[in-house]
Amino acid sequence: MNLFVDALFLQAGYNAALVAIGAGLLGFAAGASGTFPFLRKRALIADAVAHATLPGVGLAFVVMVGFGGDGRNLVGLIAGSAVTAWIGLLLIEWISRRTRLAEDAAIGAVLGVFFGVGIVLLTVIQTMSAGRQAGLESFLLGSTAGMLFQDATVIAIGGSLAVLLTWLMRRPMTLVAFDSDYAAALGYDVRRIDLLMMGLVMAVAVIGLKLVGLILIVAMLIIPAVAARFWTDRSTSMIWIAGGIGGASGYLGAVLSASAPAMPTGPIIVLVAAAIFMFSLLLAPDRGVLAALFRHRGFQTRVHRRQGLLALAARHPIREAYTLRLLAREGLVRPDGVPTDAGRAQAAKVTRDERRWDVAREIYQDAGLTGRYDGLTPIEDVFTADEIAEFDRQLGPPVTVRGD
């Protein structure tokens, strides 16, 4: 526990602090730039892009060793992975535009094939210069052991650029994400904007490769955006919320993994993000499951209450147990179903409002206001007191009903 607190406040050693900061920054960048692909319903392209970085890593290594350099130079590996990831991206776009294959098939094909080529290159490297290639496999699942200050700088600079570009291009990207035809009609080049959107994802994927690995970086690009969607309906705030969720899960995940043995950083970060996602899914206001449940209950209550009051007014017996319980709890009926005075008054009000709506429909024949009639919205919410007084005037004074 002490170790956790130490790590949380960056007191658990230089490397742990570096990893925590790097993971936090990476998470923020991934969350922010994952927002628009998710809104565009193309989140899984991130999956293909991330897998397509592997052959680039291998190729860059081969080239750098071929020129006599250090094969593990991070900037070189990142550049190489960016090249193949970009090729993969263009191929997906080309396949789904020029052939009748759907985009999902193109994504899967590029993902599998590029990863296969990458594995081939890794085995080539193993035979090429034994011993020195150690570490390239860590790009699969990430490793934080040998994180250098340079790596953190790359993440910080690349990540900020990605976030900045996302923010600058938020308007065209929002347009394309929600209505690409409209964006095209406004003169935006939809294809370019799509490529930019995916290019940002690619940029974050390549800078995050070394830290969390190419398989799990996908999670950091998708999960924060999905979680952020529960908290807002505005795309601009979604960028920041997704970034915040990503940053928090990156930082917390790195801290957790530093505070216990056998806790690989990448998976822990993803699981923290998944936990935040679960939390959002269940508890977010408005869009969360719990909120939906409450809304449903509230609606049910209002429907039952109204049907019960109408039945009271019409002097029909109420047989529905839930309705009876509801009305009894409010003191509107006695347990045997006989209305109390308060119940009679409420029932009379509901019936009078029904009559008022009838009049309103005759006066306002357009559906604008009377269209809001759903039996549950109080008439006072739709019409002003003056208008309601006019309805009452047309209804006339109460009359004595003979008979019973």
């Binding site: 998710f38 319903k41 193309r42 989140a43 899984l44 991130a46 999956d47 897998h51 080309w94 396949i95 020029r98 052939t99 009748r100 294959l101 759907a102 999902d104 098939a105 994504i107 899967g108 094909a109 993902l111 599998g112 094939v113 590029f114 990863f115 296969g116 080529v117 594995i119 081939v120 890794l122 085995t123 080539v124 035979t127 496999e137 699969l140 699942l141 398989i215 799990l216 996908v218 999670a219 998708i222 999960i223 955006a225 999905v226 969607r229 529960f230 056998a262 806790m263 690989p264 990448g266 998976p267 822990i268 993803v270 699981l271 993000a273 998944a274 996602f277 899914l281 869009r287 939906a292």
Partner: protein
């Protein structure tokens, strides 16, 4: 091409072919149903499934692993459905959120348990190891006729052969139902075909094929086998029967060519050793798909061909 071939190359090639065919068959329907990425999701959750099966039984053996992976696939499909329905999230993102989380959980479990004594590590799970599935006891082609020798065949071969036969039988038995429900789910329901159960069955079958192939080629390359041969076949013909035929041909071709290129290709370039056969199979299937995209007779969408002059 004598004894050495039988010893070292025959079984890997056979396993490669059987794995590719077992994946390509359900892949055809997944592609037509626009569910190609279910294959992606399944292949990622195979890992946690196998790890959990290992934790529960304590041994690496075929049946628990198959069950574990099929179970994980079902859990994943269920979770994806739950996230989709409850959260109102589009299927792709729901899939991405679920399978990456499950994969992360699998890696974590694997790291937390001591699996050093058994052959189960992440890289193996991701990359596969086709080359190691050799039949050293064989003495030549005649060993194929010797029941005693046949018993020494690698277990993986028997396993993938069984699974492949299982997938073929299922495809043949449910052919009509699959065909109808793939192209017109509403019509299938009107005919009384249990379309939802059939769709789930297809996913489970794909999961079983994935885990059997996973042994040999690793969990990621399975995706290429699910998608590339059927996708290439889709560009060759408009008839489902022929498409399935083409996909089996392409799958076999990529397995054989991929294995040969991986084993002998480096020698042709004067290099030593061999490269990953599984990766090469995926690469060859990608090349086949690329050629089909460029020259396949039915590559364009209806109506697009003339306009774009493609």
């Amino acid at each position: 091409m004598g004894t050495e071939f039988v010893q070292l190359s025959l079984t890997p090639i056979l396993i490669g072919i059987l794995a590719a065919v077992a994946c390509a068959l359900p892949g055809n329907f997944l592609i037509l149903r626009r569910q190609a990425l279910i294959g992606d999701a399944i292949s990622h959750v195979v890992l946690p499934g196998i790890v959990v099966a290992f934790l529960l039984t304590g041994v690496i053996s075929a049946i628990p692993m198959l069950l574990g992976a099929a179970g994980a696939a079902l859990v994943a499909v269920g979770l994806i459905e739950v996230v989709k329905r409850l959260g109102g999230i589009e299927p792709g993102a729901a899939m991405g959120a679920v399978f990456t989380s499950m994969f992360a959980a699998g890696v974590l479990l694997l790291e937390q348990t001591d699996t050093s004594s058994v052959h189960l590590d992440v890289e193996h799970a991701l990359m596969g190891n086709l080359e190691s599935l050799v039949w050293l006891q064989a003495e030549g082609w005649h060993s194929l006729l010797d029941p005693g020798m046949l018993a020494t065949l690698p277990d993986e071969l028997t396993r993938i052969a069984t699974v492949c036969a299982f997938v073929v039988v299922l495809t043949v038995v449910f052919w009509r139902w699959l065909k109808i429900s793939t192209f017109d789910e509403g019509f299938a329901q009107a005919l009384g075909i249990p379309a939802a159960a059939l769709g789930l069955g297809l996913v489970v079958t794909a999961a079983i094929a994935a885990v059997a192939a996973f042994d040999a080629v690793g969990s990621i390359i399975v995706i290429a086998m699910f998608i590339c041969p059927p996708a290439a076949a889709r560009l060759m013909t408009n008839r489902l029967e022929r498409q399935v035929g083409w996909s089996v041909t392409f799958a076999t071709l990529s397995a054989v060519l991929g294995y040969i290129l991986a084993g002998y290709g480096p020698l042709w370039f004067g290099a030593q050793g061999a490269v990953s056969a599984a990766g090469m199979i995926a690469a060859v299937s990608g090349i086949i798909l690329g050629l089909a995209c460029l020259y396949g007779p039915h590559r364009a969408r209806v109506g697009v061909a003339r306009k774009e002059g493609a």
